[in-house]
């Protein structure tokens, strides 16, 4: 099948997938997907439930390795190097490609320790001062600093859902990744918290390559510049968000965004 890469201007792809297929045991969950992910834009993955968005997202930082039955075929490059090659180091890969999950999952530690976790394990801070600086910077970038600066020692799980999710984003950016993957980061949040996260994504755009999976077409339209539409494990269409939503090439995309199914 043809994937329409609709006359996009040439950009340097941060990550690019080439004919990627993913299997769970014998079941094919992703079928020959190829896509370039640029640094300059936010890329949104949309599609009906079960079409494989999360699966594909997880292949981008090899989180599928933690599922024993999962198997990946094809090639995914990060800065031109295949992340599935044998010499590739998953730890370094995941430090470079961070991830935020659907349900906020702060560790049962203090807010400070949640943020400091990544820098500590990766040895990115020389001393306490540097660590403090990283924590502050990350919380500021995540727009959480003002709300928590007086209670950094409180447990991260004591925050509200929206704050927890921003904490998780802050935690991800504390190690200064190059790509941030977000799997439906707002689906467990109320509209106000959602708006804050969307604002945050707009802030972060450009500094990191961002991929966001979302079920909300409005959200995709608001936050992303590129959109990929997935259906039954295949990527049906990929292009400028504005094009996908106003002028899709494929009938299935049209049907989905007009609410015919999904």
């Amino acid at each position: 099948m043809t994937v329409v890469h609709d006359n996009l201007e040439k950009t340097q792809a941060k990550m690019s997938a080439k004919s990627v297929s993913v299997f769970y045991g014998d079941k094919k969950a992703i079928d020959e997907v190829s896509i370039d992910i640029p640094t300059e834009y936010v890329t949104a993955f949309i599609g009906p439930s079960g079409c494989g968005k999360s699966t594909f997202l997880r292949t981008l930082n090899r989180m599928n390795d933690t599922i024993p039955s999962a198997r990946v075929e094809g090639e995914i490059d990060l800065d031109g190097q295949d992340i599935y090659r044998s010499g590739m180091d998953v730890v370094q890969l995941r430090a470079r490609v961070g991830m935020v999950f659907q349900k906020p999952n702060p560790f049962p530690k203090s807010i400070y320790d949640n943020i400091a976790y990544g820098p500590k394990i990766h040895g990115l801070a020389e001393g306490k001062d540097e660590l403090d600086a990283i924590v502050e910077k990350s919380l500021k970038r995540a727009g959480l600093w003002e709300e928590v600066k007086d209670r950094l020692q409180d447990s991260g799980t004591a925050l509200s859902g929206g704050q927890q999710q921003r904490l998780c984003i802050a935690r991800a950016i504390a190690v200064d990744p190059e790509v941030i993957l977000m799997d439906e980061p707002c689906s467990a949040l109320d509209p106000i918290a959602t708006a804050k996260i969307e604002e945050l994504i707009a802030e972060l755009n450009g500094r990191y390559a961002i991929v966001i999976v979302t079920h909300s077409m409005q959200q995709a339209a608001r936050v992303s510049q590129r959109t990929a539409f997935f259906h039954l494990g295949k990527m049906v269409e990929y292009g400028r968000t504005s094009d996908i939503f106003t002028n899709p090439h494929e009938q299935r995309t049209q049907d989905y965004i007009t609410g015919r199914y999904g």
Binding site: Q92, A95, R96, H122, G123, V175
Partner: protein, 416 residues
Amino acid sequence: MSERIAPTRTTAFEARLKKRYAAERRFKALGLTSILFSVAVLVFLLGTMTLNGIGGFQRVELEVPIDFTQAGIAADPSTMQQPGATQALEAQGLRDVVQFFAEEHLGDEAASQFGSQAWRDVADAIAADPSILRGEANFWLPASAGLASGYQGEGSSEMQALAAQLSEKGLIAKNFDPGFLSRSDATDPQQVGIWGALKGSMLTMIVTLLLAFPIGVLAALYLEEYAPKNRWTDLIELSINNLAAVPSIIFGLLGLAVFLTMFPNLRSAPVIGGMTLALMTMPVIVIAGRNAIKAVPPSIRDGALAIGASPVQVVFHHVLPLALPGILTGTIIGMARALGETAPLLMIGMRAFVATPPDGFASPATVLPMQIFLWSDEIDRGFVERTSAAIIVLLLFLLVMNGLAIYLRNKFEKTW
């Protein structure tokens, strides 16, 4: 922006990464070592028990051919079936006959080294088949404890010498001793057996099962299906959870202070042991039973209630049968624990020396683990092997019970 070098791509990071992977490997190796340690201990434990225990199923015996035509012993086949047969043969001087032929065949010194009960084996053989009195028969009879350890290269030097002498002539040997499974306790390691203890264990377990199973299941049903949520129910739950974790010796103290005060005549009896162990096993069955009952999907209850069954009918016709495999699994595990239990029984006097198998729930008895404990205290080296052999028998029983429990668990695990 893209010229920015992320801190995760520096060479320093990669150097740290090497160390982190080394730590990872060390940690994993530590985990594997821990597991291997446990497995090694298990293998070592079972290995030593088996190695020692094999000898425990054997005993050192001396060869004695007896020519009954010269002995002048008569036996009426019909009386030989009756309990007094051994006494009748003794009255006819069978003891001396055996002694005579032993001296003839082995020499005086060796003939004095028979176990005191050796002639009984001959008597048993005659009782089983009186026709041997018409000819010659060859017997292997148990040696004394001293000679037996001499044969194993232990004990006094005279005995070692004598054993070496005899063994050169092929008159002494260590033979498989089936009687170990059918005799009872004795002071001579050559004469001991575990049947008495085994029977005591069985009687005790029957009492335990008869008490703990119904009470445990009924209590589990009540707590899971009917109990109102109130302070009494909480208290019951608390008691059960705590009883399941109370040291077993405390149950022994209870048995001593309550049961033995109520029934002072039943000291050492399986019925008291069984009652004590039942109190210990009951909480295990309740907890397992509640989990099994909880696992029965509510839809089954709703379905039965919807066709007009009463709550009691729902439970006894629908819930209980479905929960039964789980309850049985828990029961078997609890019973296996009770079977291996020693401490509480020490408290209620089941450590008596019991040379005859108990003939009922009220007669003095000992149990298999207690027999192991008692033998382990014996000084005579011959008891070491016997103890290990008894341990093997006990472990086999436990293995079968636990195997059954695992089988049941796997077979009936969530079939709906």
